[in-house]
Symmetry: C2
Subunit: 300 residues, 2 copies
């Protein structure tokens, strides 16, 4: 076994780190029958997964996620990637792991902030796909934040189940899988605009989901009461409900380059109720700017 | 349409060029619905194909090969890659083009040396897969070198046909596709050992096929007369039949790191007659060194 250690944080998801992984694999004479084990959080999973996807045109890999975010989201579905200075996850591949092995015990040492960031994706799965799971979350957020093993195990299991159902019906994101991007078009722009690493991915998605709910409400799809429920759930999870102090036009510019912007037309995942989502390509830039203004720090 | 121009030669198949392609695609706001058109030789096809394979986790691309080598070989089969200082095509993906469009007229301006390099792969398809096509080549090498359109069109068409049959039955090279590597384990080592760009790929494969035939003869699979036929065909195509003046041990070291060396065991494609090949993992390093010595410049 050859251990390869990479630096901590989203900044490690770059060319330089990827190249050093290849250097070490080649120095160890790793052939096509090598199995890469991605032990760590989402950064390790994304980077190691992409390294496995393209090393000698593809080798096998195993996901062993050690953060809540990676256990409930990034380790499931086969998306792998690195970042580009112009945007997150711009270079990558669809490459399924042999298996995903999640050990809840690894969450004991997870910092508070990262636990909350993981809950963002759990909440996303509830809000977009399952009303009763959302209600369970509303009742069990306290238990999850206290890291009660039974609650965590159920949340991880149900999240993976929901995500796997969506991915199985649309691995390459040509349709319904895009629902999993709820809060992410705003979220990616927040991450990029603030500088990678300043905001945790889950934190950006938290604020992004509030923005997307606000947009859903303005589009007449979500009631004010439902939008308030979304906001409260995200706030109770310990997540930010406002974007950073970045000019709205600048955030919009980051959204334009986001990969979900197919053919120049931005697509948004909107809620049409708690536990129900739809993909819309008819959102006006004016409405987006209004929502960013209403939900960002400088507008307070 | 956004033109992206890369430098000439195998050296362009690197990280730096790939990154500049991504920079330009992102600067032009190319989304997931972009179609990359790979207009050029094998380097352009391999690099643009790999860029398409991983840009935003995969976009479509079209192969428009303009060299004989690319028309008969690299544009068919979906193999894409860049090189690593430690070895050729070490980082890549299997990514099929939408279509391959070959125009024989582009071969009119092809330098003599590159025409010969392309013939190496045509000869490879004959030697490993089709005895009667090999005989046709023995009779029509003159017409091919004079670039008679009918002869070229037939050679390109038959080469693609033969290669496509093999690829269709084993896209990811888990078995029979490896037959297409005839002459390539030696060839890649020659290219790497001499420094990328010194030898054309097809030239290295030419000398590599002579070495592989010599190895086949020593293994008792090929008669001396058949090995002489192989050598003569390669020589008549204007290709080198001897390797460069590199110490045999050094060439062997390059072969060890070659991606065909799965699990530390080198696999060789040997001929068991004209038009028939087999994959062997039981070749002794001593025999390889003897063959390199017998077929390299310093032993003359």
């Amino acid at each position: 076994m050859t251990p390869i250690v990479i630096e901590d944080g989203e900044r490690a998801k770059d060319w330089r780190t990827l190249e050093s992984v290849f250097d070490q694999l080649l120095a160890a004479h790793c052939g096509r029958d090598t199995v890469l084990v991605a032990l760590g959080g989402g950064v390790v999973g994304d980077l190691a997964g992409f390294a496995a996807a393209v090393y000698q045109r593809g080798i096998s890999f195993l996901q062993v996620p050690t953060t809540l975010l990676a256990q409930v989201d990034s380790s499931v579905g086969g998306k792998t990637a690195i970042n580009h200075p112009r945007g997150k996850n711009m270079i990558g591949a669809f490459h399924q792991p042999l298996a995903v092995v999640s050990d809840i015990a690894t969450l004991d040492s997870l910092p508070e902030r990262e636990l909350a960031a993981g809950l963002a994706e759990v909440i996303k799965h509830g809000l977009t796909l399952d009303a009763s799971f959302t209600e369970w979350l509303e009742q069990n957020l306290g238990a999850l934040r206290r890291r009660e093993p039974d609650a965590l195990a159920f949340a991880v299991h149900r999240s993976c189940e929901l995500k796997a159902q969506v991915v199985a019906s649309d691995e390459r994101e040509s349709g319904v899988r895009a629902i999993l991007n709820f809060g992410h078009t705003f979220g990616h722009a927040i991450e990029a605009g603030a500088g990678y690493g300043e905001w945790l991915h889950g934190e950006a998605v938290g604020a992004g989901m509030v923005m997307a709910s606000e947009l859903s409400m303005r589009a007449g799809l979500l009631s004010a009461r439902e939008a308030a429920r979304v906001r409260e759930l995200i706030q109770r999870a310990g997540l930010p409900v406002r974007g950073p102090a970045i000019p709205p036009e600048q955030l919009l510019q980051w959204m334009r380059v986001d990969k979900k912007a197919g053919g120049g037309r931005m697509r948004f995942v909107l809620l049409s109720g708690i536990g129900a989502a739809q993909i819309r390509a008819d959102v006006e830039e004016r409405a987006i700017l209004e929502v960013i203004r209403a939900c960002s720090a400088q507008s307070q």
